[in-house]
């Protein structure tokens, strides 16, 4: 009986550790997408809430705009429309947050 309890207890601890690892890993996950901008959502020139990127396989993906890094050739969200006008590809660095994709860096595609 005591042995069974110990096994169940270890399994619970292992599950908890596994769950913590999964959540921790997801929080840190950063990804990159490239494509052309097909829609920009915003109410003012500086308040761009989201945009849609058509990626190379022809998939349209919506990104919310998070706190953007501005160094090393990155550009502000307000500049997305100019890229859209020229069908000029952009690179988006983003983090998944639940079902949302949150962009944290925008830059010109090479």
């Amino acid at each position: 009986m005591g042995s069974a309890h110990r096994i169940v207890g270890r399994a619970r601890v292992a599950s908890a550790i596994a769950l913590a690892l999964v959540l921790g890993a997801c929080e840190a996950a950063e990804s990159t997408a490239a494509g052309i901008v097909v829609n920009v959502e915003g109410t003012t020139v500086t308040d761009i809430q989201a945009f849609t990127l058509r990626t190379q396989p022809g998939q349209d993906v919506r990104f919310e705009v998070g706190q953007l890094e501005m160094a090393d050739g990155a550009f502000p969200a307000s500049h997305l429309r100019e890229h859209m006008a020229l069908a000029s590809a952009v690179v988006v660095d983003y983090r998944p947050d639940g079902e949302r994709l949150v962009a944290f860096r925008l830059s010109d595609a090479p």
């Binding site: 596994a18 997408a33 349209d60 993906v61 550009f75």
Partner: protein, 308 residues
């Protein structure tokens, strides 16, 4: 036991984190209007509706075309005809049609199309784009979108906001403190908007910042304005940076908000811009005669200046 735990953990990680590859996105969300989703067997041409303010009345309908591989189709030898549908009233009845004009954004390299249209009412509208290629082949696609009752920026025929804008006099003729243009045109920094309005001077106001894009496909608007301005030596041209800037480390740099975002300059807020670059043509009575969002063609601006 340990192996099974590791395998399970790996599967959980991949499932939960998506296993993203560059250029793909595992967690898609619904596409906002207007662009259709490219898919296998889908349309061969795809429109990009660039105008951010489609509204009732005279409207500059700015768009581009790509193929399903994101390659630009827009070109001077690809003609595009447009049919407009009032989707709310009858999604299949053409209300009006228009031929689009191709304009270069970067001469000889990249461009897009413009059509000057007049939406009789706000609501849900649709456009069928029919492209005719040099070999005679035609391709067509339709996209639906919302037409607003009014625009945020001043409407054509309205008085424009009077606002003080910085001039060379306020910086001791240091143009680097006024513009991120590496080759600023001194004439563009002599007059403030409020002074031009008070003097009943017609003027062209250009909200543009060449600083924020590293490739040469960006920031051509100010160059187009310079080209046209040279033909109108007596007309007032005013260039303003749309964002709050300051001199730092020897160059003009953005002043970011606490959240690390750009901040609107007071003149940008007064004009309620939704995007930049933005060009306005104002007559001697302070009435907006023309406005151009995004890329504009030199001939478009020349035509607008004929109204002054």
């Amino acid at each position: 036991m340990r192996t099974r735990l590791l395998s399970t953990l790996s599967i959980l990680l991949l499932a939960a984190c998506g296993g993203t590859l560059e250029g793909t996105a595992p967690i898609g969300t619904a596409l906002p209007s207007p662009s259709p989703v490219a898919a296998s067997g889908g349309p061969v041409i795809l429109p990009l509706i660039v105008s951010s303010e489609l509204a009732k009345g005279p409207t500059r309908f700015l768009f581009s075309l790509t193929d399903a591989q994101n390659e630009l189709i827009a070109a001077p030898d690809v003609d595009v005809a447009l049919e407009f549908y009032d989707t709310d009233r009858d999604p299949d009845a053409v209300v009006f049609d228009e031929e689009a004009d191709f304009i270069w954004a970067l001469e000889g390299e990249r461009g897009l199309y413009v059509a000057n249209v007049d939406f009789p009412e706000a609501g849900r509208w649709g456009t069928r784009f029919t492209a005719t290629f040099p070999d005679g082949r035609t391709e067509t696609v339709r996209a639906d979108y919302d037409v607003l009752e009014d625009t945020r920026t001043p409407s054509i025929g309205e008085e424009v906001p009077s606002v003080e804008t910085p001039t060379a006099a306020s910086t001791g003729d240091d143009l680097r403190a006024l513009s991120t243009d590496p080759d600023p045109e001194p004439r563009f920094y002599q007059t403030s908007v409020d002074d031009a309005l008070a003097a009943n001077e017609p003027f062209v106001l250009v909200f543009a910042t060449p600083a924020f894009c590293q490739t040469r496909t960006c920031g051509p608007t100010l160059e187009t304005i310079k080209e046209v301005a040279a033909e109108y030596p007596d007309l007032t041209f005013i260039n303003v940076e749309p964002f709050v800037m300051e001199m730092r480390d020897g160059s003009l740099q953005p002043v970011l908000s606490a959240e690390g975002q750009l901040r609107q300059a007071p003149w940008t807020a007064a004009w309620q811009l939704v995007s930049e670059p933005f060009v306005a043509v104002v007559d001697g009575s302070g009435i907006l005669q023309a406005k151009f969002e995004g890329v504009l063609g030199a001939d478009e601006l020349r035509n607008a200046l004929q109204t002054l």
